[in-house]
Subunit: 338 residues, 2 copies
Amino acid sequence: MSPATGELSSLIRKRVLSALPEGHGHPELQRYVQLMRDYPERAGKTLRGKMVVMAARAHQGDEEAALATAAGVELFQNWVLVHDDIEDDSERRRGRPALHRMVGTPIAINVGDALHVAMWRVLLALPSTTPGGLDREAVLHEFLWMIDRTAEGQHLDLSWVAAGRFDITEEDYLTMVTLKTAYYTVVCPLRLGAACASAPPSPSFESAGIELGAAFQIRDDVLNLTRGVSYGKEFAGDLYEGKRTLILAHLLAHAGSDERGELEEVLAKPREAKQPHEIERVLAAIERHGSLRYAQDIAERRARAGLEHLDEALDRLPGRAAARELESLLRSLAQRSV
Amino acid sequence: MSPATGELSSLIRKRVLSALPEGHGHPELQRYVQLMRDYPERAGKTLRGKMVVMAARAHQGDEEAALATAAGVELFQNWVLVHDDIEDDSERRRGRPALHRMVGTPIAINVGDALHVAMWRVLLALPSTTPGGLDREAVLHEFLWMIDRTAEGQHLDLSWVAAGRFDITEEDYLTMVTLKTAYYTVVCPLRLGAACASAPPSPSFESAGIELGAAFQIRDDVLNLTRGVSYGKEFAGDLYEGKRTLILAHLLAHAGSDERGELEEVLAKPREAKQPHEIERVLAAIERHGSLRYAQDIAERRARAGLEHLDEALDRLPGRAAARELESLLRSLAQRSV
């Protein structure tokens, strides 16, 4: 991470925190304010926020508006994580217990809603246009689009778990991660950068962003099942949560029917009923069938395709240095080396 | 209900439903779309939406913008109810099972989020101003204010239940219902009506709206413990959910210390552990101490104070007929005769 990029991260983080209330005279509401600040104060990578600012710079857009928009994207990420962690009953987030495990589901849902409205407050404070070139309506509509897609993807993911479906194909999985991850992680941040310059976004932002976003999510799934990687989440948490991943789709498509039956029996149990030795059996099967390697290869192929596809669009942008920085961020994001 | 008012209700309901997607080519997302429409399709009273339109008419504001804003308020009500029903683990809503009891908590949280963004989509589709006098920025900022207050009130309510606190005073309760109910039920709809005419809202809207909103919520609490009333929720559900109400505050302040101990023991149990005969004991104590009557009296006193306070402000509005209709709506709302 270059010093300039680290600085940008801390600038965005400051914006996020300054968009949230700092304190309250009422004791219970003081606690509420602290809970709103809890996830934002945990050190996230502000990847998506940085992407907005770099994309805005590459379009020679309004820097001030880009920082506010970046804060909006990070607030989006925070409220979505609070709700996702409940929906998946995740144990940990950014190296600490998930919010609902600290305060219970009811209070955590409400804190997520409060962060959601804090996001809109930041966006609605943008002027409708600026000499630097902001198009506020375009920013606001990109957020509507982004939240819709993410919620659709989340619904697919949750409904497969709820229905106990294991017949998820690679294509199903890719539809789901495109909606759930790729839009808010890559496509929308790139397009938001363009909106800060009132520039029409390159159509490649969508097609390439989908490839890169899928690569990012697949790498995330791989990391979750890779021992000894510290990335703030529980090792093999995806198996405990019963998440449908590309790894699992590959495994179940390649297991013999007896083995498949045994694996599904374990995976279908509620998380509390899953024993560590059962999860070890699933991990061993994943190893045996090369499913982790398979997923990793797909991620690499998609990342390459996305970057190639994007190269030309980035080459055309007026802010040369920022475009190169953006490309390097996208490269490391797709490889999860950030 | 006058025919004109019934018509207004159905106009608003149509607006709400037309703001939601109707279908989707993907089978799971078709289900998702249906779930988004589920609460809005259950016949609600659209009280708050009607209040917006009547207040806009009383200010001689933009009718078209008022209808869209009314739909926004109703969408707010719907997403809040989906999340509230999870937070309180309510059984029923508008005469049918609560959404999370039909589809599980994870999917219901996500559907609530999808309705939340549908609300913003309706509001952001408003033009910034209209010949009819709309001030869109004022509408948007009123929504930010409304959601913030409601979430604060909800936090108070939930944190008392989570902490097992029974030492809630009448003042605590009134702070909570002002935040949780009065703003979004009365104060904000009145001010939104003014914003549809770019008129500065009367300061009485806030002070009187708080009285009326509290009266509304107290009447709601009373109805919940009144046998044989059909209003879409479970009889005595508030006792099963352990909600802190004015009725309970009065009861616990007037019970002897032994009786208080017994009552708190029942009320503190998780809802599944509460036996019907135990709830009957609480109801008998409420009867004995006149707590329902006490709450009803407070509600009536607050409703009268609010209406008197508002009279003068309504008298000054240019749309005479609409102002009278609005007053009559507020009167029946405070008495829960609508």
